[in-house]
């Protein structure tokens, strides 16, 4: 059973040492630039950037594996669908019935796919190299409400617990004769008796958990302190402003070039 839902890989690397906000800014800068840049190959270049960063962060193995298993199939499917079914495009390569493959469509589909690739793969890098509570501690310190960071972090922990509970409930139901095998209809039907205990049980738990965290002064309104110390160096600040500046420059170039 998983103890928690976290993709964080503890390693010693410049990427791990970087301030979480810097990495978050990097992710959003990459995404914005990939969409705003007027140059066709920007997104592809940023993908290369992500791959290089994964080596810098020494998480290349986990990064490439996640990309191959999760991202490539989705992006590949999107690319295929868009190239085959987009309604515009003139330079036809071949056509069959209502399907027509054109050069323009392939170009658009590739651009869209690579932008989504940048978006997801940058986030993968972030979660691989950043401990969730470090990210939330840093954001809370910068004025993000404590409730929000609680929701994010507790979801990461409580989802695997709920999963385990669902398995227990299913086992209990099966031991009393519930048939969860067989046709799709039967399997969907078998989910119904799971929903009640899982959902209502969780609602009761939410009340107790709310009491437990209130008992520990969660909404005390006092300025919070933090056990975790998150480093924020001047290099981090420079990097952040640099990223913001580049993003703005790309935005300006976009407006200018049009």
């Amino acid at each position: 059973m998983h103890e928690r839902l976290s993709f964080y890989i503890p390693r010693e690397s410049p990427l791990h040492r970087a301030n979480p906000l810097t990495k978050l800014v990097l992710v959003f800068a990459f995404i914005l630039i990939s969409y705003l840049s007027p140059w066709y190959w920007t997104a592809s270049l940023l993908i290369l950037g992500d791959v290089l960063l994964s080596f810098v962060g020494r998480v290349q193995r986990e990064y490439l594996r996640t990309v191959a298993r999760l991202l490539l199939p989705v992006v590949g499917f999107l690319f295929l669908m868009q190239s085959l079914f987009l309604p515009y495009g003139e330079t036809e390569i071949f056509s069959f019935w209502f399907i027509s493959l054109t050069v323009e469509n392939i170009q658009i589909a590739f651009l869209n796919a690579s932008r989504i690739f940048v978006m997801v793969s940058s986030f993968i890098l972030l979660v691989l190299s950043t401990h969730p509570s470090e990210l939330m501690t840093d954001l809370t310190r910068r004025g993000v409400p404590g409730q929000l960071s609680y929701v994010v972090v507790s979801t990461l922990q409580i989802l695997p617990q709920m999963q385990a509970k669902a398995v227990t409930i299913i086992d209990a139901q099966r031991s009393r004769g519930l048939d969860t095998q067989g046709s799709l209809r039967k399997r969907i039907g078998a989910l119904v008796p799971l929903v009640g205990p899982l959902v209502f049980g969780s609602l009761v738990e939410v009340e107790e958990r709310a009491i437990a965290i209130e008992a520990r002064g969660f909404t005390s309104g006092l300025p919070k302190t933090s056990l975790r110390e998150v480093a924020d160096t001047s290099a981090d600040r420079v990097a952040r402003w640099f990223l913001v500046a580049i993003t703005l420059a790309v935005l300006v170039s976009r407006i200018w070039i049009r």
């Binding site: 103890e3 928690r4 976290s6 401990h131 969730p132 509570s133 404590g146 960071s149 609680y150 972090v153 507790s154 922990q157 409580i158 617990q161 738990e205 107790e208 958990r209 709310a210 009491i211 437990a212 965290i213 209130e214 008992a215 520990r216 002064g217 969660f218 909404t219 005390s220 309104g221 006092l222 300025p223 919070k224 302190t225 933090s226 056990l227 975790r228 110390e229």
Partner: protein, 283 residues
């Protein structure tokens, strides 16, 4: 004045007609260890929530009478003022884990972060309370990977680290295995020995008999009896309330009805008392 002071408290949960607490008067002195017993639905948990300030701040409903903890009128204070005075822990160890933290050490520090304790003091206090509750070796584990008894000690530590004046425990051992229960009870005993005021809801009559200064028996939202463990735990009123007596007391009562146990002799609650009592009967 008593540290905990309930004066004529009556409380109804929202959308209910029958009060869960009826005219409760209870005083608990500093350093006292009070055990609360009673059958299910007697209002024991409601009493705990009332003392801790969750009634009326969290559960709403109608509260009459006054509740004072360490001079603080809980009705007119905020919940966060109340929780600083009163530490509350309850049955289910799993639900008391905040879910916001990835290690036991951080989990215990959660309350201190919320109340703005400086980092250095936080580390010291968490270390001390982990020693006290015997969980130092778990510091770097995930709170979710622990056994029930360990989780409950983490929950206790998370409350104790905030240094409350009163510890309110609502059946902290009822969902634990015997070993886990004993470990938790050791901590409670230790805290009481160090002068902490403890209000404990508990079903394990033998423990109460050994460690509580006073026992409060509840039924149907009322306090039906209050006194020393020896008096309350052997009373026939308790036998009729549906809560029941320890089996040693039952055996002795049986012996009384057969004329074996002398009427004026005290009835036993614990195994040791029973052994002493019955061996005195032998010729």
């Amino acid at each position: 004045m008593a540290l905990v002071n309930l004066h004529d408290v009556t409380y109804k949960y929202p959308l209910t007609d029958t009060p869960a607490l009826k005219n409760i008067n209870l005083q608990v002195e500093t350093g006292e260890f009070v055990a609360v017993i009673g059958p299910n639905g007697a209002g024991k948990s409601t009493l705990c929530y009332t003392i801790a300030g969750f009634i009326p701040h969290f559960f709403k409903g109608e509260l009459e009478g006054t509740v004072q903890v360490a001079g603080l009128d809980t009705q007119h204070a905020t919940l966060s003022q109340c929780v600083v005075e009163t530490g509350l822990a309850f049955q289910n160890p799993f639900n008391q884990i905040s879910g916001a933290k990835f290690t036991v050490f951080e989990e215990i520090a959660f309350g201190l972060e919320n109340t703005g304790v400086p980092r250095q003091a936080m580390i010291e206090r968490v270390g001390q309370v982990m020693d006290l509750t015997g969980i130092s070796e778990l510091a770097e584990r995930s709170p979710y990977s622990l056994s029930g008894g360990q989780q409950q000690r983490v929950a206790l530590a998370s409350i104790l680290v905030m240094e409350p004046k009163v510890l309110v425990l609502d059946e902290p051992t009822s969902q634990l295995d015997p070993i886990g229960a004993r470990e938790v009870f050791q901590v409670v005993k230790e805290m009481s020995a160090r002068g902490m005021t403890v209000i404990l809801v508990e079903h394990k009559v033998e423990w109460i008999a050994q460690f509580a200064d006073r026992v409060v028996a509840m039924q149907d939202g009322m306090i039906i009896m209050e006194g020393s463990p020896a008096d309350v735990l052997t009373s026939s009123l308790l036998a009729d309330s549906g809560f029941g007596l320890s089996r040693y007391t039952q055996a002795a009562r049986d012996a009384v009805s057969r004329g074996l146990w002398p009427e004026q002799m005290r009835l036993p609650v614990t195994l040791q008392e029973a052994v002493d009592g019955f061996s005195g009967l032998l010729p």
